[in-house]
Symmetry: C2
Subunit: 400 residues, 2 copies
């Protein structure tokens, strides 16, 4: 490696954004922003104001003031800034898991004459478990893709498994282990060619790379906000339903917030004609407010600039790891990866523990992976250099 | 009315608890704590500390520090302090609506040879809508009870509708409109006599009166935390599953947080052997932390003392309203009501709006009801007197 990290930092157009986060000097390097993002300083302020002034002072009147519209209003902000989604197709609600559950039922109901849900075996556990649960409940069959961890789901692999029985395909845009970025537009088109619909899990891609759901004619999508959207542990997730499905889409958790008139307390249920029909119960206002701060910070920086820095950060990380001869499971082509880099090592758990003991926080994933998450707005090149140096030093003392 | 409100306040053993809440002097009377409770000062502090120190400083390590155990740990606090529930049966998770959905499926699955869900037409909309959704999904029939609004569900009414087909009965302990408190132990026993299971919605009773779920052998229960538990708009709900059902109980939103080993990222799903199997996705840590502060405040005061004050507050409110000749739909027998008092008036919406304009906040419910919610820890008798006086003055100028 020739360029020193301070030179990289001083020429980084997004460097100043690091000061917009709470950064604890006790940590040498926080390389887990892809599990839980740092706290934006604006969020500290906003939550304090929300608790004291909105909840504390407006009390129940807060719902009419603005809270009741927040799930869609902030959903639209996420859609516009991060998803390439026109207004009215995105809501903030519940958790990723609950939203996947709703979307799986919604998606399957659009193809009542088909009985297969396709998902890859490398997908995140909650997606896989929920596909199994929903398939069982609907009398459908799960068809498993078995991709290579690094290549992940390719057009060839998926194409071979689609057919007249395929109702729904569930895919992650960026693999939570390898960091592999798959071809969302091409895979979406392939699913449509087979007459099926797709549910995209954007948890590891939203906020770090440009996404164009409308342009790709994606059907359904879901993602979390506690990673690159920096909205806090267990912050609410988002859900996207393409406009063309909205009028017909149904979901099973048909609580009062999904009804056409929330406060009518009607005798009979009628689903809202809008994206609100995907809601269920009362949303966490504090949670949505934190999402709003998170998405505004990203919008201010711009996703294209963030993607450019993400590519530079992952390239730099790979360079450092290659110099040390550490094994990677992340693609070397920047176009094929998201914003984390993953090391494979027999002693991964012990290395991760020892790194944490030395103030560098990565993420361990069973059984032998160490993820280095590089959150472009809050991660500096100096931080990456320090963290990787510790990883390499610790690994040098570990069994191979 | 003979006793002036300041005398009642000065002899109120819980009077000092009012200072533990953020109380905005701009409001003459906040009589809607049964929709959204006031902010405990401890919660303002705790949330600020949580954001800056726990999330901000511990970051991802917070999950291992304590967050991962919070849903059950705080559930146990709610169970012990408020529900009469031994440890291991209560979790904090999701919203009331999502939890009702899970519990309805879980409850119905315990009676696979039966096909009816019984619910009253006076029940809260989300309960009714979800019963209809779950019944449709499972090929079951909904049997509707049609109780009188004031009497609500009696043993006689329910007894006449139970039979060999009854799988699940869904009831509210306190009616959200009239405030009627039904006989939870007797109704639960009746359901069991019919060989069915019961799901209790405790939204309008939890925190203001003693509840003994274990003693009554209740099967399942759910409730929210943003009313008398003062945990903020859209704070997470709780869910109770009796120990005897836990080993067999299943729920459809089988996300990763319901799995036996959360971080194993296992190929195959295995439900946790504990109450954690009722979880789905990543819980809102900020939300659960706020619930913890709310329940601790109630535990400190004691539910019996709170119930005594609640009875005094509702009795005083009824006395004032009776003096003014206002029509009520709340039982006059203190044993038969919860902690809100409801007025019926043709001009209810306009009266509520005018009350709010004058700084007294009640709750309007379609089409002709005004609820006065009396949250014992934060509501003073002086506040009640001022609020009711405004109601009576406004009503005197309204059409009858």
């Amino acid at each position: 490696v020739t360029t020193p990290p301070d030179v990289l930092d001083s020429s980084d157009p997004l460097a100043a954004f690091r000061d917009r986060f709470v950064v604890d000097d006790d940590l040498v390097a926080y390389l887990d922003g892809n599990s839980l993002g740092r706290v934006p300083k604006a969020t500290v302020e906003r939550l304090a104001t929300f608790v004291s002034e909105e909840w504390g002072s407006r009390l129940i009147r807060g719902w009419e003031d603005s809270w009741v519209d927040l799930p869609v209003a902030v959903g639209d902000e996420v859609g516009a800034a991060l998803l390439g989604a026109a207004a009215g197709q995105t809501v903030i609600a519940d958790s990723t898991s609950v939203n996947i559950y709703k979307l799986l039922h919604a998606a399957a109901a659009t193809r009542p004459d088909r009985d297969e849900i396709v998902i890859d075996a490398t997908n995140f556990p909650t997606d896989r478990y929920l596909v199994e649960s929903v398939a069982a409940a609907r009398g459908m069959t799960v068809r498993w893709l078995e991709p290579d961890l690094v290549d992940n789901v390719t057009v060839e692999l998926l194409g071979a498994e689609l057919g007249d029985r395929t109702a729904v395909v569930v895919l992650c845009q960026v693999d939570y282990r390898s960091g592999t970025l798959v071809d969302l537009p091409a895979l979406t088109a392939l699913v449509h060619d087979a007459g099926a619909v797709v549910v995209w899990d954007l948890c590891h891609s939203v906020g770090v790379l440009p996404i164009a759901l409308d342009a790709a004619q994606v059907d359904f999508a879901v993602g979390c906000t506690y990673k690159y959207l920096n909205s806090g542990p267990g912050s609410p997730a988002f859900m996207y339903v393409a406009d063309r499905h909205l009028a017909e889409v149904t979901q099973p958790i048909a609580g009062w917030w999904s009804a056409a008139d929330l406060f009518a307390m009607s005798d009979t249920y009628e689903a809202a004609p809008t994206i609100r029909r995907m809601l269920s119960g009362t949303p966490s206002v504090a949670g949505i407010v934190a999402v709003q701060e998170g998405v505004r910070l990203i919008a201010e920086a711009g996703v294209d600039a963030i993607r450019a820095k993400s590519e530079a950060l992952t390239a730099y990380t790979i360079e450092l790891l290659d110099d040390a001869g550490v094994e990677l499971v992340t693609p070397r082509d920047a176009d094929l990866r998201g914003s984390h880099v993953t090391v494979r090592h027999l002693d991964a758990r012990r290395i991760a523990d020892q790194m944490i003991a030395r103030g560098a926080v990565p993420d361990f994933r069973e059984p032998d992976l160490i993820r280095l998450g590089l959150s472009p707005l809050s991660t500096s090149f100096a931080e990456v250099e320090a963290g990787v140096r510790i990883l390499v030093e610790v690994a040098a003392g570990a069994r191979r």
